[in-house]
């Protein structure tokens, strides 16, 4: 695998750094007074909360300005259960996690369809609501909060001195580090990155984006609740002032200043946000002002954060037995009707992009759809894949109507696609792109991945093997560890095909795959398309390149102005006068400036 810096060096540096931090962590309480230990506990707490928020903000790319709410819910759960029901601290922790996760669902659910800027105010509002409720209810002690929370007891030893709490905080932080790192390497972690990179594309290639987003809030909330329990145990008393909007902002600063998505970055951010104000005590009244100015300068100097997440990751793809990828349609009888489109229409405002279109696709064929720009070809693809809802008509796949299924469900049924404008996840590696594409067929359980169960490891290796096979199939085995955005144009096109094949489709929809390719690449692409068909995948192709269309197609459909004007074998189509007319145009039809209807709007849900 290829990597920019020398990986061995890098690993050695990382190991040394970890050893140094561990040594410092052990020595610190032996040589410092309680004040320093207390600051260290604050840093550890901010580290925990930062890593939790990092799941939402760093991995999934969702904004959360009310993260303190989960922190509050965890803290109040522990406090209330201990003081009212006399639970021990350890018994309250699972309850904290449960309540925090439930509130993650409550906040996550209504926000799922909102764009990020709207998320800002809704999450902020949620944070304020939780704080105001805590401030106004009697059971939570109102503005006075709850005090007299007993310290945790472990093997008869009371964890109440600063040094003991310090040890507990480290234990909590290590658990959270382990948890978040496992998460980021899991299938869910990859799905988060994919929606951060391009949510629409992720949904269209089979990622259940709504569920994935909701899980980001839930996982973030779990860590927040965990940190809240620790907070309650540390102080023995809590009140609403610990969970303000400003606190949520502090957590966000930890993540963005440190480096979104980067564990060491977030920990560094925590050290700065919790430690810098202490270090600036000599500024006296000017301290807060100094912190604000420092924050602006740091952000201006390092917009990516102090320790940004590393992009290209090294991976050893396991050896597989070789050979071609296997698809469901391999041994199915050729020629049966796989896809049936009847009277399909789609309006955009007053423009009828597709009008009464009917066609069928049979198993094992290569069907091309051609037509001038604006003929409605991409709109047909968008209707087939659920990205756009048809205004009328019916689409049946393997005999069953697709109805109003969301795009990722249609992918799971066996219809996957590529895009006219390349929509890879540019900051993910090539193999990760393919792994995201394989998501609909992943069966590995999240818990298995988090706890590192052997079954999950086996599944993971098997998937990596399939992934490698797919990459080899499109000729990109060597580029597996490269960032998708760094690949050459033609390679990106082929990577998109590999990603779409990852969903094991029955039908592969290719939207102008040859656009921008040179003649050699086009010839290779023709070979690849035929090869995919020979493996049992039916292909529907939109393409402008006539050499390619006439060379590979079994049948060709010609669209113009949203309707089908001709259908038949390539040779027939080339002679058809209506087709020649549509392409070369007549007087009323040569207006180049006419806006193409399918460009007016494509995303409709």
């Amino acid at each position: 695998m290829v990597d920019r810096a020398d990986p061995a060096m890098r690993a050695a540096t990382a190991r040394m750094l970890i050893v140094a931090v561990a040594a410092g962590a052990v020595v610190l309480p032996l040589v410092s007074d309680d004040y320093v230990v207390d600051v260290a506990i604050s840093i550890l707490t901010f580290g925990i909360l930062g890593l939790g928020l990092n799941i939402v903000v760093g991995y999934a790319g969702l904004l959360d300005l009310g993260y303190a709410a989960f922190f509050a819910i965890g803290a109040y759960t522990t406090a209330l259960l201990e003081t009212l029901l006399h639970f021990s601290f350890w018994e309250t922790v699972p309850a904290s996690l449960l309540f925090a996760a439930a509130s993650g669902v409550i906040i996550g659910y209504p926000t799922l369809r909102l764009r990020s800027d709207y998320l800002a105010i809704v999450t902020l509002g949620f944070g304020e609501i939780v704080r105001i409720i805590a401030n106004n209810l009697d059971i939570t002690g109102g503005p006075n909060g709850i005090y007299g929370i007993d310290p945790p007891v472990l093997f008869g030893f009371e964890i109440s001195s600063p040094k003991a709490i310090y040890g507990l905080a480290w234990a909590f932080l290590l658990i959270v580090i382990l948890f978040t790192r496992r998460l980021s390497a899991s299938r869910l972690g990859r799905a988060w990155i994919s929606i951060r990179e391009d949510e629409t594309a992720a949904e269209a290639i089979g990622v259940p984006t709504l569920r994935v987003k909701l899980l980001a809030y839930v996982m973030g909330a779990l860590v927040g609740g965990f940190g809240g329990s620790l907070f309650a145990a540390r102080f023995g008393a809590i009140d609403p002032t610990g969970f303000t909007y400003l606190q949520s902002i502090n957590f966000l600063i930890v993540v963005v200043l440190g480096g979104m998505g980067s564990t060491p970055g977030v920990l560094l951010g925590a050290a700065i946000v919790a430690g810098l104000p202490e270090a600036l005590r000599f500024l006296a009244l000017w301290r807060e002002f100094g912190f604000a100015i420092g924050l602006i300068i740091l952000m201006l100097v390092r917009p990516q954060g102090l320790w940004p997440a590393r992009v290209a990751r090294r991976v050893e793809l396991p050896e597989d037995e070789g050979g071609d990828p296997v698809f469901a349609g391999k041994d199915a009888p050729r020629g049966e009707t796989l896809l049936e489109v009847r009277d399909l229409s789609r309006d955009f405002g007053g423009v009828r992009a597709v009008s009464g279109l009917s066609f069928t696709a049979h198993r094992g064929e290569i069907l091309s759809i051609i037509g001038p720009n604006g003929a409605g070809k991409t709109t047909v693809f968008n209707c087939l894949t659920g990205v756009t809802r048809p205004s009328g008509g019916e689409i049946r796949f393997r005999g069953a109507p697709l109805g109003r299924l969301s795009p990722h469900r249609i992918v799971a049924l066996g219809l996957s696609r590529t895009f006219q404008g390349i929509r890879l996840f540019p900051h993910m590696t090539a193999y990760e792109n393919v792994l995201v594409g394989m998501d609909p067929h992943h069966r590995v359980s999240l818990l298995g991945e988090i706890f590192g169960l052997p079954s999950a490891g086996r599944d993971g290796r098997e998937h990596l093997g399939t992934c490698r096979r797919l990459l080899r199939f499109v000729g990109l085995e060597e580029a597996a560890g490269h960032r998708a955005g760094d690949l050459a144009y033609g390679d990106q096109r082929r990577l998109e095909i590999a990603r779409a094949l990852g969903a094991k489709p029955e039908i592969l929809l290719l939207d102008e795959p040859a656009a921008g390719m040179n003649p050699t690449e086009k010839t290779e692409l023709m070979t690849l398309i035929r090869h995919i068909r020979d493996l049992g995948v039916t292909i529907v192709l939109i393409e402008h390149d006539m050499m390619l269309v006439m060379g590979v197609s079994d049948r060709v459909l010609v669209m113009d102005h949203g309707t089908l004007i001709a259908a038949g074998e390539p040779a027939e189509i080339q002679r058809d006068p209506r087709v020649i007319d549509a392409y070369l145009g007549n007087e009323s039809d040569t207006d180049e400036t006419a806006e193409t209807p399918e460009e007016a709007t494509l995303w409709d849900s």
């Binding site: 909102l114 105010i121 105001i132 600063i253 979104m260 002002f289 604000a292 602006i296 895009f419």
Partner: protein
């Protein structure tokens, strides 16, 4: 019923302030897609500047009317310049950077303004001269003070002027073009940086107007006042559909009314919960706000 109309009058008065501040959020968002978290604090700085000039001039025994006009002019123009300076220093260099980094500098500017004012003016409340007595008139038992009437009219006049500016002038048209497609606007020869600065100037100018009026109306100001008003105004901008100028105006008035009814019929302790629940409810039904347009995505 009389109580209802009384709450309505109160709500419209504060709503007008929120609307003026919300315009700054929405205009900046419309042009550079930034939630300008420092905007509420520009409102606060405007109130303090107005106070400083007013108190200084009052000390020199100038007629109050003259002092008021000078205070308004000075506060509005200086705050406008402050907005431009914030953009130049903290936002402009980060326009191409990851979007959250610019959000963090905005938060940094917000903290810096609050703590800067705290350092200069101290943590206590400052009191504006009592210029706007409680005199007024009553319609069917509903008390309306002259102060409320004047402020509401001034706010509406400012909003109307802005509307005319954005829709009837060349620069306003350029501004709208920029909001739709920055690159295309640049290619058409629009000086994009200039327009962005102008947007910050206008937004801050309007926020300062609200700040001075709030000072005159409530007579007490503190370094912390920008937070709550900023939050409400931001909520208003989102409720109306962020990026949409009439939406921000309507959203501001609506939030003012919600707050007033919430405090009147429920309890002022629960007002914020009420306001946020309404906001979340609206966004769930209409994810782009009341007047927001659907964002088109290409594939």
């Amino acid at each position: 019923m009389q109580a209802f109309f009384q709450y309505t009058v109160e709500g419209l008065t504060i709503g007008a302030f929120y609307a003026l501040v919300a315009l700054g959020y929405t205009m900046v968002y419309g042009i550079i897609r930034l939630i300008n978290f420092a905007h509420g604090d520009v409102f606060m700085v405007g109130a303090f500047l107005g106070w400083t000039v007013l108190v200084t001039l009052a000390g020199m025994h100038l007629p109050m009317a003259v002092a008021l006009v000078v205070a308004f002019a000075a506060s509005l123009c200086f705050s406008g310049a402050l907005g431009v300076a914030i953009d130049r220093i903290a936002y402009q260099p980060l326009l191409a950077a990851p979007r959250l980094s610019i959000l963090i500098t905005a938060l940094g500017v917000s903290l810096a303004l609050e703590n800067g004012v705290l350092l200069i003016y101290g943590p206590g409340f400052l009191t504006y001269p009592h210029l706007m007595g409680t005199a007024g008139f009553a319609i069917g038992g509903v008390q309306i003070s002259y102060a409320q009437t004047v402020m509401f009219v001034v706010s509406l006049a400012l909003m109307f002027a802005l509307y005319l500016f954005v829709h009837r002038t060349f620069i306003g048209t350029a501004m709208r073009a920029l909001a739709v497609d920055q690159d295309a606007a640049r290619l058409m020869g629009i000086d994009v940086e200039r327009i962005i600065q102008l947007t910050f100037f206008i937004g801050s100018f309007l926020a300062a107007a609200a700040g001075v009026m709030e000072g005159l109306y409530y007579t007490q100001i503190s370094f912390y006042m920008g937070f709550l008003v900023g939050l409400r105004a931001f909520t208003a901008a989102v409720l109306g559909g962020i990026g949409n100028i009439p939406g921000a105006m309507a959203g501001g008035l609506l939030i003012g009314l919600l707050e007033s009814y919430g405090a009147g019929y429920l309890s002022s302790r629960w007002t914020d919960v009420f306001v946020f629940l309404v906001l979340i409810g609206v966004l769930v039904v209409k994810p782009t706000g009341l007047f927001g347009e659907r964002v088109v995505e290409r594939m």
